[in-house]
């Protein structure tokens, strides 16, 4: 892997995934779609961390540890975010992010 695929290739893949996730998070009307975009972005960041770990210091565990902590935080974020989506749906009977604008001035 190290000799065959250069590090910038992996990082570019992660950057592309991040941009696709960014597009999804900003352009989806559905709140669940927004959350899915955020998940894609978190995955892109994780790919970056694992790639840096593998190419620079594979004998230490720091990179993998970071990735695992990010996965845990992403799981917590998904749980709370989806609970909020369900609560928003109960209250507004919609999951469209543009229609939930009670706080708009």
């Amino acid at each position: 892997m190290l000799n065959a695929v250069p590090l910038p290739a992996v990082l570019t893949l992660a950057a592309a995934l991040f941009c696709i996730g960014l597009f999804g998070a900003l352009s989806r009307r559905n709140l669940i779609g927004v959350l899915m975009g955020v998940e894609l972005m978190l995955n892109a960041v994780n790919i970056n961390l694992v790639a840096f770990w593998r190419y620079f210091e594979p004998r230490y565990i720091t990179g993998q540890t970071f990735a695992i902590f990010i996965i845990a935080v992403a799981a917590a974020e998904a749980a709370v975010g989806l609970a909020m989506v369900i609560a928003v749906y109960r209250h507004y009977v919609t999951v469209n992010a543009d229609e939930v604008d009670q706080l708009r001035g």
Partner: protein
């Protein structure tokens, strides 16, 4: 050998990117969630390729097993939105697309490709490289990363409690949608009403508990 790795990496990268593009572009939200699962699998395969086996397993367990099921459940609970024909993107999506593409093409890709990374040379083929595996990871979690490990545990517990509190079923008076049981009862009452007289359009507002005595009386 190197060509094989390159081909596998190319296929995995293509799979990840196509799946991610489908996630953000497909109209049906359920299909979108299924493509998201495919994308998670692709990322797991990439971890395997990068020789982080434990992370690949964690990725499949947590993302494919838990997060995607959570997302699917949330879609099912907020139904009548997954149908085709509903516009899924906001009106400003061309601007967002331009921002994302420009960010990638003008900032990220040139920076990543032109940067001098100074990657340490890989050992020659045949000599095993010392790679930290699950054993070192577990030892790290009980030694140097113990506090962080505990903090993440507390965070997960708090998130669990918070999710339950936020999504807890409120009392019927304050709720605007019906639970599945109430909806079923309402449907049964409506069918009974159509057998006797002309059907009245029943609003989503009244709860089944309040409707029942009126129609039976």
């Amino acid at each position: 050998m190197e060509v094989v790795v390159q081909v596998v990496f190319g296929l995995v990268a293509l799979f990840i990117l196509v799946a991610a593009a489908m996630v953000v572009s497909v109209r049906n939200v359920i299909h979108s969630a299924l493509w998201l699962i495919a994308c998670f699998f692709g990322v797991g395969a990439l971890y395997l390729l990068l020789e982080a086996e434990f992370l690949a397993v964690v990725q499949v367990l947590v993302y494919v097993g838990a997060v995607s099921v959570l997302i699917l459940f949330a879609i099912m609970l907020t139904r009548q939105i997954s149908g085709e024909g509903v516009r899924q993107l906001t009106a400003r999506w061309p601007v967002v697309l331009a921002i994302a593409v420009l960010l990638f093409a003008t900032v990220m890709a040139p920076t990543l490709i032109n940067q001098q990374w100074n990657v340490p040379p890989a050992p020659p083929l045949g000599t095993p490289e010392p790679i930290a595996g699950p054993a070192e990871l577990g030892r790290g979690f009980v030694n140097e990363f113990l506090i962080q490990f505990q903090v993440v545990g507390v965070l997960l517990t708090v998130a669990l409690i918070g999710a339950i509190v936020i999504a807890f079923e409120e009392r019927a008076r304050r709720r605007k949608v019906l639970t599945l049981a109430e909806e079923l009862e309402l449907k049964r009452l409506r069918e009974r009403a159509t057998q006797t007289e002309t059907p009245e359009p029943v609003e989503a507002e009244p709860v089944a508990r309040e409707v029942r005595p009126a129609s039976e009386g």
